[in-house]
Amino acid sequence: MRGSRAWVDGLTVLIAIAVILLVPQLLELYSVINATIYVSMAVLALSLALVWGFGGILCFGQAAFFGLGGYTYAIAAINFGDSNLPVLFAVALPACFAALLGYFVFWGRLNDVYLGVITLTVALILFKFFNATAGDAYKIGKAALGGFNGIPATPPLNLPWDKSVQLAPEQIWYVAATLLLLLYYVSRCLLSTHFGQVVVSIRENERRAELLGYDTRRYKLLIFTVGGAMAGVSGVLFANCVFVSPTMFSLSYNAQIIIWVMIGGLGTLSGPILGSVLLQMLTAELGTLQWLDPNFVLGAILVVFVLLIPRGLQPLIAALGERTFSGLAALGFRRRKWIKP
């Protein structure tokens, strides 16, 4: 069983690398930029998949860390002139904020709905704050916060060892896609360590984990911080392929992330990645239809999904895949029997 799992993993990595390299060659610039956006949001979906799907923490404000990552990167990059330190800040600041918020919330023993409301409220506070910074007074160093407009002229990433070379859109695609792949496998590894196992057990039954002697608050805090840092990374990528604005903190982004995770499959890692990409592509397609309102279609799909496919896409695909595999295996078995004399 282990051997075949490693075989599938290895194959998946090879296919993924092939896709990453081929996309800029096969698709036009416009599609590459879109693909980069989808991949950045997939990282965000992955962060909530980790925090919620495996940590059991219903964070309704994951976009807060996403937005903080984006804003930190933009402000730091404008002030520093290059992107090396800003990237580090942009991951560290959301992580610290997540740690603080986590401390505030977990040490207060808050759970499900109440946790969700507090995280949403925090995201909204950030939204209202950044939305109101249009005046001149709101500057951090050289960077004007821009209020509702956001910060359109964010300097793009540059090569870490040569600050004068800024990355072109295709190269940002490489960075984003590789990061997604990396973070996916890092998450997988994290979940298979002792720490990861404890986190999952807390999700299953927090009281039992406590009675077994684990300080559940610490574990939840740590996984929440990791999720926050990952969302910060997604914010940096977003700042590079779209631009930074207060809508990153808005209710609609927060809800979208939750929807991606649910449709992709709560409790899996690859499901939300798939779910986020598919839904984003769908929303973009719907936007071009003149006669049908995109909200209407998306809403209908969601309702149907919840009623008919509540566990999400990934379990569905996995189940189909298993049936196909077993069907193929049965066929192969029969073939072997045939060939043998």
């Binding site: 709905v113 409301v117 506070i125 929807i259 209407f296 809403g299 969601l302 309702v303």
Partner: protein, 288 residues
């Protein structure tokens, strides 16, 4: 002196505003632990009913007090029978389904009515208070909210329906085994919650105008108020609205509306941290 009166009145209006937009969600959440993210759209539908009815000649008050609640109440019952009924106990799934519903309703309204703001003028004119002028209609909202809460309290306390509702809220299984059809109670409650939201939306329409997308602005505030209020439906909503509304208005007068809203949100966060079960989780426990 009259500025003081004005501030107090404005605080009352803000509390009424919050209470009105939250009561529908509170009834549904309090009864069935369903987080109805389509709540903002029920408000919007109530507003649209009023605007369309009024523009077709229906008396404004009839539209607001009768047409809006009935229309939205019926829509609520339909929604409950078609979607929510399958999802009781699955809180996250209901969130997702109701978010989908909200998008669907917004989309449907946009396709039918287009995306332009429409409205009706606020009735009743204005009144002078000292050197200031205030819209009488705004003040009427305060009375309307108070009346609504009073009626709801009387219903809960002194009618058989209220008794059944409270019993189901406290212990659904027991109520079921005593012969009460919980399915029926849930459907009716959802309908009533929707009707209350429709009424609120209708009452607010003359002040804000209606647009298919105004629901979004309401749902977050309502959600936060209801959760901060805690398990008790009426007392929770009333106390949370009072606290948050006062803070919001006072901060707005001192600084700007944005600061007011942020104060409301920060206060909610602090409140939830200190009282994790909401206000009525700790105080006023025995209130309905």
């Amino acid at each position: 002196m009259d500025f003081g009166v004005i501030v107090v009145l404005q605080v009352l209006v803000a509390i009424a505003h919050l209470a009105l937009i939250s009561i529908g969600l509170a009834v549904i959440f309090g009864m069935m632990r369903v987080i109805n993210l389509a709540h903002g759209e029920f408000l919007m539908l109530g507003g649209f009913t009023v605007v369309i009815a009024a523009n077709h000649g229906v008396n404004l008050w009839v539209a607001m007090l009768i047409a809006a609640p009935i229309v939205v109440g019926l829509i609520g019952i339909v929604v409950e029978r078609l979607v929510i009924r399958y999802l009781y106990g699955r809180m996250v799934d209901t969130m997702l389904a109701t978010w989908g519903l909200s998008l669907l309703i917004v989309g449907a309204m946009t396709m039918t009515f287009g995306n332009t703001t429409r409205g009706v003028s606020a009735p009743l004119g204005s009144v002078a208070i000292g050197r200031y002028q205030s819209s009488i209609y705004e003040l009427t909202l305060v009375l309307a909210a108070a009346a609504l809460f009073a009626i709801a309290y009387l219903l809960f306390r002194f009618t058989r329906l209220g008794l059944i509702a409270r019993a189901t809220m406290q212990n659904a299984e027991m109520a079921d085994s005593l012969g009460i059809s919980t399915d029926f109670v849930y459907a009716v409650t959802f309908g009533i919650g929707a009707a209350l939201s429709g009424l609120a939306g209708g009452l607010l329409a003359p002040l804000t105008g209606v647009l298919p997308t105004i629901g979004v602005a309401y749902v977050a505030k309502a959600f936060i108020t209801v959760i901060s209020g805690g398990a008790a439906v009426l007392a929770g909503t009333a106390s949370a609205s009072a606290l948050l509304g006062t803070l919001d208005t006072v901060a707005t007068f001192i600084a700007t509306p944005v600061v007011g809203e942020m104060t409301l949100l920060i206060a909610a966060v602090v409140l939830l941290r200190l009282l994790p079960e909401g206000i009525t989780g700790r105080f006023l426990r025995r209130a309905s």
